[in-house]
């Protein structure tokens, strides 16, 4: 079948030289030049701070201050100010910890795993998503740190040689958490920083202000954009992506072990590691969509973070949401199939017991609502995706609530059964953690290039070395044989023939 507007090709050459219906859309819209991309991103770190930013920062940092006050109150009075009480020894602090760690998965998934899968669209969103990851992990770490009760002894979780010869319990998954989350944080931080170096150098070269230049010069590590720098940079980036990839999977797997190594019905199930990872990616992408929808509008980044980018993230939300939903169903089925009455009771109690409301919030937010994204129209609609991304994160918070609370509140001793309720300190601490998150994210938006300038340029057609010389940066047609780059230099005729065929250049 010939292309309708191409009368000359009656044959079915899949990539005729003219416009082709199956060509990939450019990732960056608006016919931007390299310089335009730099301008669009860099100017937000250079202009005078807008009033709206100060307002937003005031609100966020006030909430963060509330977090500090709540934590101080808790340290002064003890863990009793929270709703945790036997048998629900793990209440909101653990729910919030898992919630925030989950959100912290999207960034490094986007920057590392999508990099290894050559998903070039990741370049527009990876910087902000990685920053979000770091801030979410910081928020997450607050909760177990203060949950230990004696926060001044938190360093006991680290295996530091000491005169008492006291060591952490290596068999405890809570200790594995310390290692998993901290190594994830460190590698994510290094990865994020390595990616920042070329962009910081760009900012350095654009400024005349003395101190700004000095600070940026310090952090850009003497980057000049030399070939040798790029070569080292790309090697480091690939290696770090390879190292970060297993970490993305391991962190939430270890978090799932916190639950699954116990023998508690509803927690002790083998699907937990992959299902937690899927849930983490799900919630992380939802948070990225929430933040990017706002940021691209306010900062005028619509040509860099296009609807196509958001659509791809929404597809990932659909896929991971469905995986999570199927895992819920699998757990339920297997509890019945196991023939173990405690397992069966735990799941019936989840769905129809006193916390049924939470269970059905979780089910409808996580399994049912993302199914709207089957519709192309809905997954390309900004209001729909914004609403849904928030719905998803509500659902994912409730997932952790359901897992933690329902399995604990009715333990093996019916005499201790009760109904867990959070205290006002629980609630304000959680709200305060959002304050910390948004405070850090606003600082990021203000001082750091929020899109990876150098990486975005790398996926534009102009980045093809043949762009100016031999056409438009699109690949050669199927009629042109593949030539190994090493053989090309000697094989290639001087003039007339190009890699795109035998047509003359120009």
């Amino acid at each position: 079948m010939a292309n309708s507007d191409d009368t000359s090709t009656a044959t079915t050459d899949p990539t005729p030289d003219g416009a082709d219906f199956h060509d990939r859309e450019p990732l960056i819209k608006g016919n931007l030049s390299f310089h335009d991309v730099t301008e669009i991103v860099a100017k937000h770190t250079e202009k005078q701070t807008p009033l709206a930013w100060y307002l937003a920062f005031t609100v966020a940092s006030s909430m963060a201050l509330m977090l500090v006050l709540m934590l101080a109150y808790q340290v002064w009075n003890g863990v009793g100010v929270w709703g945790n009480n036997q048998p629900v020894g793990w209440g909101w602090p653990i729910v919030n910890f898992v919630f925030w760690v989950g959100i912290g998965h999207a960034g490094t998934l986007i920057s590392a795993i999508l990099f290894l899968f050559r998903q070039r669209w990741r370049t527009s969103i990876n910087r902000a998503a990685e920053a979000m990851t770091l801030f979410a992990v910081m928020c997450a770490l607050i909760f177990p740190t203060f949950h230990v009760g004696r926060v001044w002894a938190i360093y006991w979780t680290l295996p530091i040689p000491n005169q008492m010869e006291m060591w952490p319990q290596f068999k405890s998954p809570l200790l594995w958490d310390v290692f998993a989350v901290s190594s994830y944080f460190l590698v994510s931080l290094v990865f994020w920083y390595i990616g920042l170096v070329p962009d910081l150098a760009t900012l350095r070269d654009r400024t005349n202000k003395f101190f700004r230049q000095k600070v940026l010069a310090f952090f850009s590590l003497g980057w000049t954009g030399a070939n040798r720098h790029w070569r080292n940079y790309e090697k480091a980036y690939l290696l770090l992506a390879g190292l970060a990839t297993p970490l993305v999977l391991s962190v939430h797997s270890v978090v799932s072990f916190d639950f699954a190594v116990s023998v508690l019905p509803g927690w002790h199930t083998t699907i937990f590691p992959p299902y937690f990872v899927a849930g983490a990616i799900f919630s992380g992408f939802a948070m990225v969509v929430t933040l990017m929808v706002i940021a691209r509008k306010i900062y005028g980044l619509e040509n860099l973070i296009t609807i196509d980018h958001l659509e791809k993230m929404n597809i990932i939300i659909l896929v991971t949401g469905t995986i999570v939903g199927f895992a819920y169903i699998t757990e339920f089925f297997m509890a019945w199939y196991s023939g173990v009455e405690y397992e069966q009771y735990a799941f019936l109690n989840r769905a129809f017991g006193p916390y049924a409301w939470a269970y059905w919030i979780m089910m409808s937010c996580n399994l049912i609502s993302p199914q709207l994204f089957w519709s192309k129209k809905l997954r390309r609609s900004i209001p729909v995706m914004f609403t849904l991304s928030i719905v998803v994160n509500i659902g994912m918070w409730f997932e952790r609530f359901v897992i933690t609370i329902t399995s604990l509140h009715r333990d093996f001793l019916p005499s201790s059964w009760g109904y867990f309720e959070p205290t006002w300190v629980d609630i304000l601490t959680f709200v305060g953690s959002f304050g910390l998150f948004f405070t850090l994210f606003l600082l990021f938006l203000r001082f750091v290039p929020m899109v990876a300038i150098a990486e975005v340029k790398g996926v534009m057609p102009e980045a093809d070395p043949h762009f100016y010389e031999e056409g438009d940066g699109r690949p050669a047609g199927a009629n042109v044989p593949y030539i190994q780059p090493a053989e090309e230099a000697s094989d290639r005729p001087e003039t007339g023939e190009t890699r795109r065929g035998t047509e003359p250049t120009g």
Binding site: M1, H22, A260, F326, V480
Partner: protein, 424 residues
């Protein structure tokens, strides 16, 4: 849909639903070897199955366990290939286009597998403890309260209905993915909005979740229920992870066979494609290990009798060696070998690793199935004759399909990208 390609005869439909389109294949993408390429493996396979039939008279129980092992090995590989194909379509992958026809030929396997699955029906009593009627009779000393509780799910009629549903679903999906792609060779891709690539994508989109559900439940029905008291929620993913590893290895192996011994696909499948297939082999080796570890570690740590019993069978006596070998040979060795760049680009090393991983996948299935039969014996000659016999028939018909059509989807819109693909 305009039927530019005729259907095959009714019997032929089992092995290839379409009549041959060889004549329209471009010269560079034609299968040039003669029909011995598929007749020889099919012939050897049938001969081995005939020998196995003798074994089925001598030792029926052993035969059925060996046969289930070989058949499950092929079923998981075909299912894994189906998922790999979904991923290629859904991500609009360009690099894999030149190897996609091999994947498609691998995936049109379900009608044949359904036919080859019939002998299992005769061995249900040996293979599946839950088919024994006395377990459900409260007056019998064999009465089993737990199995009686599962009877509404684990009973032969419902089991058979489910198997029919799984195979109907997989056959329908693979029919669409296979025939649409072959039609595209002749018709061209059509318009972007509703052309063949868009149809392939939409089939993959709805096929993925439905196949995932079918795969999970099929794993419970075919393999997990051989030990009917035992249960594990991750089992479906374990089944999938080994299968997709074997499928990617098989794709690499077929490409190497066609290219290295047949001189085909020259310039179409390059070291770049092998490197990417090798990356996926490496990735799924790690993924398999991650899933296997998750299942083992959580049960070991919990130490609940009804959960650890499955591992206990596999960690005692001769099976302990199998478990240790599984760790070393299915994970550590391929992990180390496939990690560097050069091994994935070297055709001899990649070929050896493809055969290795396919063999290890069978070893893994064997490790799942056979300890149910006995704690003592490990390998039996029937394990090998049934496995290799079934694989000969299966692989021979993959060759048969490859021979009848172009070796690459020659009108795929991303073919040019794939031909010029380079790892950067």
């Amino acid at each position: 849909m305009a039927d530019s390609v005729d259907r095959n005869s009714i019997l032929g439909w089992l092995v290839d639903p379409l009549s041959s389109t060889r004549a329209s294949a471009e010269a560079a993408f034609q299968f040039t070897a003669d029909r011995r390429a598929w007749l020889a493996p099919v012939g050897i396979g049938i001969a081995l199955l005939a020998i196995s039939a003798v074994g089925s008279v001598l030792d029926p129980k052993q035969f059925f366990f060996s046969y289930l092992t070989g058949w499950s090995f092929l079923l998981t590989t075909a299912v894994g290939g189906l998922f790999f194909l979904f991923f290629q379509h859904l991500t609009k992958a360009a690099w894999s286009v030149t190897t996609r026809r091999i994947n498609e030929a691998l995936v049109w396997a379900f009608p044949l597998l359904a036919l080859l699955g019939i002998p299992i029906l005769f061995g249900m009593h040996d293979l599946y403890h839950w088919t024994h009627a006395e377990l459900y009779d409260p007056s019998s000393p064999q009465y089993d309260e737990i199995l009686a509780g599962k009877r509404s799910y684990l009973n032969t009629p419902f089991w058979a209905i489910r198997m029919v549903l799984y195979f109907a679903l997989w056959t329908f999906i693979s029919y669409r993915l296979y025939t649409l792609s072959v039609r595209m060779d002749v018709e061209g891709p059509g318009e972007a909005g509703d052309g063949i690539p868009a149809q392939l994508r939409s089939t993959s989109a709805w096929g993925l979740p439905l196949s995932a559900v079918a795969t999970a439940f099929c794993s419970y029905d075919v393999l997990m229920s051989t030990d009917p008291h035992w249960f594990s929620t991750i089992f479906g993913i374990y089944f999938f992870s080994g299968g997709i590893l074997a499928a990617v290895s098989a794709i690499a192996l077929f490409a190497l066979l066609l290219q290295q011994t047949g001189g085909m696909l020259q310039g179409a499948v390059t070291a770049e494609h092998y490197q990417d297939l090798g990356k996926f082999m490496f990735g799924f080796v790690v993924f398999w290990a991650y899933i296997a570890f998750s299942q083992y570690m959580l049960y070991w740590y919990g130490g609940i009798p009804e959960e650890i019993v499955w591992y206990q069978h596999r960690l005692e006596g001769a099976w302990a060696w199998h478990s240790a070998l599984l760790l070393v040979m299915h994970f550590i060795v391929p992990f180390l070998i496939l990690l560097p760049r050069f091994t994935k680009r070297s055709t001899p090393i990649l070929g050896v690793m493809a055969v290795w991983l396919i063999g290890m996948h069978w070893f893994d299935i064997h490790w799942i199935v056979r300890p149910v039969m006995s704690d003592a014996a490990t390998f039996h000659w029937l394990d090998f004759t049934t496995w290799l016999g079934l694989t000969g028939v299966f692989g021979g018909f993959v060759m048969y399909r490859l021979r009848r059509h172009a070796l690459v989807p020659q009108q795929d819109p991303y073919l040019a990208d794939s031909l010029h693909f380079e790892n950067t």
